[in-house]
Symmetry: C2
Subunit: 140 residues, 2 copies
Amino acid sequence: MSHQAEADRVLRSLGRACLEHDPDVLRSVLDRVGDKWSLILIGLLDKGPMRFTELLRTAPGISRRMLTLTLRSLERDGLVKRVIYPEIPPRVEYEVTPFGRTLSEPVLALTRWAADNQDTIRANRHAFDKAAGFDTDDLD
Amino acid sequence: MSHQAEADRVLRSLGRACLEHDPDVLRSVLDRVGDKWSLILIGLLDKGPMRFTELLRTAPGISRRMLTLTLRSLERDGLVKRVIYPEIPPRVEYEVTPFGRTLSEPVLALTRWAADNQDTIRANRHAFDKAAGFDTDDLD
DNA sequence: TGACTTGGTCACCATGAGGTGACGGAGGAG
DNA sequence: CTCCTCCGTCACCTCATGGTGACCAAGTCA
Protein backbone atom coordinates (compact mmCIF):
# COMPACT_ATOMS: atom_id res chain seq x y z
CA MET A 1 0.00 0.00 0.00
CA SER A 2 2.82 2.38 0.80
CA HIS A 3 4.38 1.35 -2.50
CA GLN A 4 1.20 2.25 -4.33
CA ALA A 5 0.78 5.52 -2.48
CA GLU A 6 4.34 6.60 -3.10
CA ALA A 7 4.23 5.67 -6.76
CA ASP A 8 1.07 7.71 -6.98
CA ARG A 9 2.70 10.69 -5.37
CA VAL A 10 5.71 10.47 -7.61
CA LEU A 11 3.54 10.29 -10.70
CA ARG A 12 1.49 13.20 -9.51
CA SER A 13 4.51 15.38 -8.80
CA LEU A 14 5.96 14.40 -12.16
CA GLY A 15 2.78 15.42 -13.90
CA ARG A 16 2.83 18.65 -11.98
CA ALA A 17 6.43 19.33 -12.84
CA CYS A 18 5.86 18.56 -16.51
CA LEU A 19 2.72 20.57 -17.03
CA GLU A 20 2.70 23.19 -14.30
CA HIS A 21 -0.21 25.45 -15.25
CA ASP A 22 1.26 26.54 -18.55
CA PRO A 23 -0.23 30.01 -19.19
CA ASP A 24 -0.43 29.49 -22.94
CA VAL A 25 -2.23 26.15 -22.72
CA LEU A 26 -4.54 27.62 -20.11
CA ARG A 27 -5.18 30.55 -22.41
CA SER A 28 -6.09 28.18 -25.24
CA VAL A 29 -8.64 26.28 -23.17
CA LEU A 30 -10.08 29.54 -21.89
CA ASP A 31 -10.45 30.84 -25.42
CA ARG A 32 -12.33 27.67 -26.31
CA VAL A 33 -14.70 27.20 -23.39
CA GLY A 34 -14.27 30.40 -21.39
CA ASP A 35 -17.16 32.17 -23.07
CA LYS A 36 -20.54 32.72 -21.55
CA TRP A 37 -22.34 29.60 -22.70
CA SER A 38 -20.08 26.75 -23.85
CA LEU A 39 -19.66 25.06 -20.50
CA ILE A 40 -23.30 25.59 -19.58
CA LEU A 41 -24.39 23.81 -22.74
CA ILE A 42 -21.86 21.01 -22.30
CA GLY A 43 -23.22 20.61 -18.80
CA LEU A 44 -26.84 20.49 -19.90
CA LEU A 45 -26.20 18.13 -22.78
CA ASP A 46 -24.18 15.86 -20.53
CA LYS A 47 -27.47 14.65 -19.05
CA GLY A 48 -28.75 13.55 -22.45
CA PRO A 49 -29.56 14.82 -25.96
CA MET A 50 -31.74 17.91 -26.22
CA ARG A 51 -33.57 19.82 -28.91
CA PHE A 52 -32.78 23.39 -29.90
CA THR A 53 -35.87 24.93 -28.38
CA GLU A 54 -35.50 22.78 -25.31
CA LEU A 55 -32.00 24.18 -24.72
CA LEU A 56 -33.36 27.66 -25.36
CA ARG A 57 -35.89 27.17 -22.59
CA THR A 58 -33.53 25.36 -20.22
CA ALA A 59 -30.38 27.46 -20.35
CA PRO A 60 -31.17 30.44 -18.15
CA GLY A 61 -31.14 33.57 -20.29
CA ILE A 62 -29.50 32.47 -23.52
CA SER A 63 -30.63 34.07 -26.77
CA ARG A 64 -31.39 32.22 -29.99
CA ARG A 65 -28.39 33.78 -31.66
CA MET A 66 -25.92 32.80 -28.98
CA LEU A 67 -27.37 29.31 -28.75
CA THR A 68 -26.80 28.83 -32.48
CA LEU A 69 -23.32 30.32 -32.36
CA THR A 70 -22.19 28.37 -29.33
CA LEU A 71 -23.59 25.09 -30.57
CA ARG A 72 -21.85 25.61 -33.92
CA SER A 73 -18.50 26.20 -32.30
CA LEU A 74 -18.94 23.19 -30.03
CA GLU A 75 -19.88 21.12 -33.05
CA ARG A 76 -16.88 22.44 -34.93
CA ASP A 77 -14.57 21.32 -32.14
CA GLY A 78 -16.21 17.90 -32.11
CA LEU A 79 -17.58 18.30 -28.59
CA VAL A 80 -21.22 18.15 -29.64
CA LYS A 81 -23.01 16.35 -32.44
CA ARG A 82 -25.96 17.76 -34.34
CA VAL A 83 -28.61 15.26 -35.43
CA ILE A 84 -31.33 16.34 -37.86
CA TYR A 85 -34.60 14.45 -38.16
CA PRO A 86 -36.15 15.37 -41.53
CA GLU A 87 -39.68 15.79 -40.22
CA ILE A 88 -42.24 18.52 -40.40
CA PRO A 89 -41.94 20.58 -38.25
CA PRO A 90 -38.18 20.01 -38.26
CA ARG A 91 -36.54 18.37 -35.28
CA VAL A 92 -32.87 18.79 -34.36
CA GLU A 93 -31.19 17.16 -31.42
CA TYR A 94 -27.81 17.96 -29.97
CA GLU A 95 -25.81 15.47 -27.99
CA VAL A 96 -22.40 15.42 -26.37
CA THR A 97 -19.86 13.30 -28.21
CA PRO A 98 -17.63 10.88 -26.29
CA PHE A 99 -14.88 13.46 -26.77
CA GLY A 100 -17.11 16.12 -25.25
CA ARG A 101 -17.78 13.83 -22.34
CA THR A 102 -14.07 13.78 -21.48
CA LEU A 103 -14.29 17.55 -21.07
CA SER A 104 -17.31 17.12 -18.89
CA GLU A 105 -15.19 15.61 -16.12
CA PRO A 106 -12.87 18.54 -15.36
CA VAL A 107 -15.82 20.85 -15.76
CA LEU A 108 -17.71 18.88 -13.16
CA ALA A 109 -14.68 19.20 -10.87
CA LEU A 110 -14.86 22.96 -11.28
CA THR A 111 -18.59 23.02 -10.65
CA ARG A 112 -18.05 20.95 -7.55
CA TRP A 113 -15.42 23.40 -6.33
CA ALA A 114 -17.84 26.26 -6.90
CA ALA A 115 -20.64 24.49 -5.07
CA ASP A 116 -18.39 23.64 -2.14
CA ASN A 117 -16.86 27.08 -1.83
CA GLN A 118 -19.40 29.68 -2.79
CA ASP A 119 -20.21 30.36 0.84
CA THR A 120 -16.55 30.87 1.68
CA ILE A 121 -16.19 33.30 -1.20
CA ARG A 122 -19.26 35.22 -0.14
CA ALA A 123 -17.87 35.50 3.39
CA ASN A 124 -14.43 36.57 2.14
CA ARG A 125 -15.95 39.26 -0.02
CA HIS A 126 -18.08 40.55 2.77
CA ALA A 127 -15.06 40.74 5.10
CA PHE A 128 -12.91 42.42 2.45
CA ASP A 129 -15.55 44.99 1.61
CA LYS A 130 -16.17 45.77 5.25
CA ALA A 131 -12.45 46.19 5.89
CA ALA A 132 -12.05 48.47 2.86
CA GLY A 133 -15.22 50.43 3.50
CA PHE A 134 -14.41 51.74 6.96
CA ASP A 135 -11.56 50.79 9.30
CA THR A 136 -13.21 52.31 12.34
CA ASP A 137 -11.70 49.74 14.67
CA ASP A 138 -8.06 50.66 14.11
CA LEU A 139 -8.69 54.38 14.39
CA ASP A 140 -9.03 55.44 18.00
CA MET B 1 -11.69 -5.07 -5.01
CA SER B 2 -15.06 -5.43 -6.70
CA HIS B 3 -16.59 -4.18 -3.45
CA GLN B 4 -14.36 -1.13 -3.55
CA ALA B 5 -14.99 -0.51 -7.24
CA GLU B 6 -18.74 -0.77 -6.85
CA ALA B 7 -18.81 1.46 -3.80
CA ASP B 8 -16.80 3.94 -5.80
CA ARG B 9 -19.24 3.83 -8.68
CA VAL B 10 -22.20 4.24 -6.38
CA LEU B 11 -20.61 7.22 -4.69
CA ARG B 12 -19.74 8.75 -8.02
CA SER B 13 -23.23 8.34 -9.42
CA LEU B 14 -24.66 9.73 -6.21
CA GLY B 15 -22.42 12.76 -6.47
CA ARG B 16 -23.43 13.09 -10.07
CA ALA B 17 -27.11 12.85 -9.26
CA CYS B 18 -26.79 15.40 -6.48
CA LEU B 19 -24.77 18.01 -8.32
CA GLU B 20 -25.27 17.34 -12.00
CA HIS B 21 -23.66 20.34 -13.68
CA ASP B 22 -26.01 22.89 -12.16
CA PRO B 23 -26.10 25.75 -14.69
CA ASP B 24 -26.45 28.39 -11.98
CA VAL B 25 -23.50 27.16 -9.95
CA LEU B 26 -21.48 26.82 -13.13
CA ARG B 27 -22.46 30.36 -14.03
CA SER B 28 -21.28 31.60 -10.64
CA VAL B 29 -17.85 30.01 -10.98
CA LEU B 30 -17.57 31.33 -14.52
CA ASP B 31 -18.42 34.82 -13.36
CA ARG B 32 -15.67 34.56 -10.77
CA VAL B 33 -12.79 33.02 -12.69
CA GLY B 34 -14.03 33.01 -16.29
CA ASP B 35 -12.42 36.34 -17.11
CA LYS B 36 -9.29 36.77 -19.14
CA TRP B 37 -6.67 36.69 -16.41
CA SER B 38 -7.84 35.18 -13.10
CA LEU B 39 -6.94 31.59 -13.84
CA ILE B 40 -3.69 32.58 -15.50
CA LEU B 41 -2.62 34.45 -12.39
CA ILE B 42 -3.74 31.68 -10.06
CA GLY B 43 -1.68 29.33 -12.20
CA LEU B 44 1.42 31.51 -12.10
CA LEU B 45 1.19 32.21 -8.39
CA ASP B 46 0.68 28.52 -7.69
CA LYS B 47 4.40 28.06 -8.31
CA GLY B 48 5.31 30.56 -5.61
CA PRO B 49 4.90 34.20 -4.54
CA MET B 50 5.61 36.87 -7.12
CA ARG B 51 6.00 40.63 -7.25
CA PHE B 52 3.71 42.93 -9.19
CA THR B 53 6.20 43.76 -11.91
CA GLU B 54 7.29 40.16 -12.11
CA LEU B 55 3.72 39.11 -12.87
CA LEU B 56 3.49 41.93 -15.37
CA ARG B 57 6.47 40.52 -17.21
CA THR B 58 5.50 36.87 -16.85
CA ALA B 59 1.84 36.86 -17.77
CA PRO B 60 1.85 37.06 -21.55
CA GLY B 61 0.22 40.34 -22.59
CA ILE B 62 -1.47 41.57 -19.44
CA SER B 63 -1.69 45.32 -18.84
CA ARG B 64 -0.92 47.08 -15.55
CA ARG B 65 -4.54 48.01 -15.15
CA MET B 66 -5.89 44.50 -15.61
CA LEU B 67 -3.20 43.06 -13.39
CA THR B 68 -4.25 45.40 -10.58
CA LEU B 69 -7.94 44.76 -11.13
CA THR B 70 -7.63 41.00 -11.33
CA LEU B 71 -5.34 40.76 -8.32
CA ARG B 72 -7.76 42.90 -6.32
CA SER B 73 -10.70 40.70 -7.12
CA LEU B 74 -8.70 37.57 -6.34
CA GLU B 75 -7.63 39.12 -3.06
CA ARG B 76 -11.20 40.08 -2.32
CA ASP B 77 -12.34 36.50 -2.78
CA GLY B 78 -9.55 35.29 -0.51
CA LEU B 79 -7.79 33.37 -3.26
CA VAL B 80 -4.65 35.48 -3.19
CA LYS B 81 -2.85 37.35 -0.43
CA ARG B 82 -1.12 40.67 -0.85
CA VAL B 83 2.02 41.24 1.22
CA ILE B 84 3.53 44.71 1.38
CA TYR B 85 7.14 45.27 2.40
CA PRO B 86 7.49 48.90 3.48
CA GLU B 87 10.71 49.58 1.64
CA ILE B 88 11.81 52.17 -0.83
CA PRO B 89 11.22 51.50 -3.67
CA PRO B 90 8.10 49.64 -2.52
CA ARG B 91 7.92 45.89 -2.77
CA VAL B 92 4.69 43.93 -2.93
CA GLU B 93 4.39 40.20 -3.20
CA TYR B 94 1.34 38.20 -4.10
CA GLU B 95 0.87 34.61 -3.04
CA VAL B 96 -1.88 32.03 -3.39
CA THR B 97 -3.71 31.34 -0.15
CA PRO B 98 -4.44 27.75 0.91
CA PHE B 99 -7.99 28.41 -0.22
CA GLY B 100 -6.73 29.53 -3.61
CA ARG B 101 -4.68 26.37 -3.82
CA THR B 102 -7.85 24.28 -3.60
CA LEU B 103 -9.02 26.02 -6.76
CA SER B 104 -5.72 25.27 -8.38
CA GLU B 105 -6.55 21.57 -8.54
CA PRO B 106 -9.63 21.65 -10.79
CA VAL B 107 -7.91 24.30 -12.86
CA LEU B 108 -4.97 22.01 -13.34
CA ALA B 109 -7.38 19.29 -14.41
CA LEU B 110 -8.73 21.63 -17.05
CA THR B 111 -5.26 22.61 -18.20
CA ARG B 112 -4.35 18.96 -18.44
CA TRP B 113 -7.43 18.32 -20.57
CA ALA B 114 -6.46 21.16 -22.85
CA ALA B 115 -2.91 19.93 -23.17
CA ASP B 116 -4.04 16.40 -23.93
CA ASN B 117 -6.69 17.38 -26.46
CA GLN B 118 -5.59 20.46 -28.31
CA ASP B 119 -4.40 18.38 -31.24
CA THR B 120 -7.75 16.60 -31.46
CA ILE B 121 -9.54 19.92 -31.44
CA ARG B 122 -7.32 21.31 -34.15
CA ALA B 123 -8.01 18.24 -36.28
CA ASN B 124 -11.76 18.44 -35.65
CA ARG B 125 -11.84 22.09 -36.65
CA HIS B 126 -9.89 21.46 -39.76
CA ALA B 127 -12.24 18.66 -40.77
CA PHE B 128 -15.33 20.73 -39.98
CA ASP B 129 -14.07 23.74 -41.92
CA LYS B 130 -13.12 21.62 -44.89
CA ALA B 131 -16.55 19.97 -44.90
CA ALA B 132 -18.32 23.31 -44.64
CA GLY B 133 -16.06 25.16 -47.05
CA PHE B 134 -16.67 23.07 -50.14
CA ASP B 135 -18.50 19.77 -50.43
CA THR B 136 -17.09 19.05 -53.88
CA ASP B 137 -17.04 15.34 -53.20
CA ASP B 138 -20.78 14.92 -52.73
CA LEU B 139 -21.64 17.04 -55.73
CA ASP B 140 -21.12 15.14 -58.96
C1' DT C 1 18.02 69.76 -10.08
C1' DG C 2 16.65 66.18 -12.53
C1' DA C 3 16.09 61.06 -13.73
C1' DC C 4 15.15 56.43 -12.13
C1' DT C 5 12.88 52.83 -9.41
C1' DT C 6 8.22 50.22 -7.83
C1' DG C 7 3.44 49.82 -7.52
C1' DG C 8 -0.08 51.57 -8.52
C1' DT C 9 -4.51 55.05 -10.05
C1' DC C 10 -7.23 57.60 -13.40
C1' DA C 11 -9.48 59.14 -17.64
C1' DC C 12 -10.21 57.97 -22.05
C1' DC C 13 -11.11 54.94 -25.87
C1' DA C 14 -11.70 50.70 -28.96
C1' DT C 15 -13.23 46.30 -29.74
C1' DG C 16 -16.10 42.63 -29.84
C1' DA C 17 -19.19 39.65 -27.31
C1' DG C 18 -23.63 39.19 -26.91
C1' DG C 19 -28.80 40.78 -26.93
C1' DT C 20 -33.07 42.22 -29.79
C1' DG C 21 -36.35 41.98 -33.12
C1' DA C 22 -37.57 40.95 -37.84
C1' DC C 23 -37.80 37.57 -41.36
C1' DG C 24 -38.18 32.70 -43.57
C1' DG C 25 -40.03 28.36 -45.24
C1' DA C 26 -42.68 24.22 -45.05
C1' DG C 27 -46.47 22.20 -43.49
C1' DG C 28 -50.75 21.59 -40.38
C1' DA C 29 -54.86 23.48 -37.89
C1' DG C 30 -58.89 26.41 -37.60
C1' DC D 1 -56.60 32.86 -45.66
C1' DT D 2 -54.31 33.33 -41.61
C1' DC D 3 -51.82 31.76 -37.86
C1' DC D 4 -48.96 28.44 -35.44
C1' DT D 5 -44.52 25.68 -34.56
C1' DC D 6 -39.48 24.68 -35.18
C1' DC D 7 -34.96 26.01 -36.23
C1' DG D 8 -32.61 28.97 -37.46
C1' DT D 9 -30.28 33.63 -40.16
C1' DC D 10 -29.44 38.53 -40.52
C1' DA D 11 -28.81 43.43 -39.43
C1' DC D 12 -28.42 46.42 -35.91
C1' DC D 13 -27.19 48.23 -31.48
C1' DT D 14 -25.50 48.27 -26.61
C1' DC D 15 -22.51 47.81 -23.06
C1' DA D 16 -18.88 45.72 -20.54
C1' DT D 17 -14.21 44.17 -20.92
C1' DG D 18 -9.96 45.46 -21.34
C1' DG D 19 -5.93 48.33 -23.49
C1' DT D 20 -3.19 52.97 -23.52
C1' DG D 21 -0.73 56.56 -21.80
C1' DA D 22 -0.38 60.15 -18.33
C1' DC D 23 0.39 60.89 -13.67
C1' DC D 24 1.92 60.21 -8.60
C1' DA D 25 4.64 59.43 -4.15
C1' DA D 26 9.02 58.78 -2.03
C1' DG D 27 13.48 58.03 -1.75
C1' DT D 28 18.26 57.38 -4.05
C1' DC D 29 21.86 58.43 -7.14
C1' DA D 30 24.61 61.58 -10.21
